[in-house]
């Protein structure tokens, strides 16, 4: 690991200014991916801009038909928030399934979605719930936010400040963890509201995606049996030593059914 200039700005504007002044800067949120990467020597930013000192970008707030969660809110806070547990329990349960207890204490919502790891859990929730990502400059619908593997719509000097999750009638997340890393090997988030059903899949493909055939099937009949015979193609799914694309495709179907069942 190499030394860097450590910045701990007090405001979003100051953080942005720190980034703009750097040739090679990185924002540091929970650091659960960034620090291990730096330890391995796979990244060596010149400036590390720690967002922990910024007021007002952490915490859970009730909005109009939505819950707004600050970007620097840790997974453990999301998991244990009484508000989220009562109004959007699927999201609290998802947060509780991330990493391990120590990772949840440090890792943040904003950090996770800005990284857009293809096996991260949150992207499925954002896409299925139709969340809006708020940054220091704009609001981005979740589906436009996640571009592809490790890529988001964020500019280099743009900071996620919060995510607004609309409340839905029913939602649930079913995750099949990678046995070693506990990242999602397949994670399916199902959300149902008046407009219809959205099914978002993480871990299985190069980036989060919506399973539209499943959505159509569930629009007609919101029950797990409606998904019988609705297969996801293995063609573009990930392949690694833990699971073949075929198995991942199969698991998407299983997890989707389990999520629907969990919606009650």
């Amino acid at each position: 690991m190499q030394n860097f200039d450590y910045h701990k700005p007090n405001s979003v504007d100051e953080a942005v200014a720190n980034m703009q002044a750097s040739d090679d800067g990185k924002f540091l949120a929970g650091g659960m991916t960034m620090l291990p990467t730096m330890k391995q020597g796979l990244a060596a930013p010149e400036d590390l801009i720690d967002l922990h000192g910024i007021d007002g970008i952490a915490g859970v707030a009730e909005g109009a038909d939505a819950i707004e969660i600050g970007a620097m809110t840790s997974h453990s806070v999301v998991a244990s928030s009484a508000l989220i547990q009562s109004d959007l329990p699927a999201l609290a349960a998802l947060a509780e399934s991330i990493g391990d207890r120590q990772v949840r204490a440090r890792g943040t919502l904003g950090g996770s979605i800005s990284n857009n790891d293809p096996a991260a859990d949150y992207p499925a929730a954002l896409v299925a719930l139709g969340a809006t990502v708020k940054t220091n400059t704009r609001e981005i619908p979740a589906e436009d936010f996640f571009v592809e593997m490790f890529e988001t719509a964020l500019a280099e000097d743009e900071i996620v400040t919060s995510v607004s999750f609309p409340l839905v009638e029913k939602a649930a997340y079913a995750k099949f963890p990678n046995p070693a890393s506990r990242y999602a090997m397949v994670g399916v988030f199902v959300a149902k509201n008046a407009d219809g059903v959205r099914v978002a899949v993480t871990g299985a493909g190069p980036s989060v995606f919506r399973a539209s055939a499943m959505e159509s099937a569930l629009d007609g009949d919101f029950s797990s049996s409606a998904l019988d015979g609705v297969a996801v193609s293995a063609d573009d799914l990930n392949s690694d030593i833990h699971a073949s694309p075929e198995y991942r495709a199969h698991l998407v179907g299983v997890m989707a059914k389990r999520a629907v069942d969990a919606c009650g």
Binding site: L42, P45, P206
Partner: protein, 152 residues
């Protein structure tokens, strides 16, 4: 690992072939390519900054064109050293066929990585390789087609 893909390029086979041998176009197409210097008609040295999520590594190495069969096919080989990150080697068999909309480009990539990226990043290597080769060929097609594309 092996990857394959097909692109339709809105240009004649000869035009595509010419581009396939043009270091300036190759440089534009190779993701993160900071420099591509010609040693001979078929040999180049390259500096590539690879950026996959939090990982940022600079690879230096060679790019060679082999098995030249103008204007039908060649093999593009490359190897790069990325210091602590490890190394990457690969070859791409590229062939061109005439097509109603111009030229059909078919590629078959065989790539390997070694060192730290192979040891700790195995779950991501396949996806990253696919992303980079898709990027390369789509940019290549875009450059020939004269489409606007901002190289990173």
């Amino acid at each position: 690992m092996k990857l394959e893909g097909t692109y339709i390029i809105n240009a004649s086979k000869e035009e595509v072939w010419k581009a396939m041998n043009d270091p300036a176009i190759l440089q534009q197409a190779i993701p993160g390519c900071e420099s591509l210097e010609k040693i001979s008609d078929t040999q180049f040295t390259a500096v590539i900054k690879a950026k996959i999520g939090p990982v940022k590594a600079s690879f230096t190495g060679e790019v060679n064109l082999e098995n030249l069969n103008p204007p039908h096919s060649y093999t593009l080989t490359g190897e790069g050293k990325g210091g602590l990150a490890g190394f990457a080697t690969g070859s791409a068999d590229v062939s061109l066929n005439e097509h109603n909309d111009g030229t059909e480009l078919i590629y078959l990539v065989d790539a390997q990585v070694g060192g730290k990226i192979a040891q700790i990043g195995s779950r991501l290597v396949g996806g990253a390789a696919k992303k980079l080769s898709d990027k390369f060929f789509s940019r290549f097609a875009a450059v020939i087609n004269g489409e606007e594309e901002n190289p990173e």
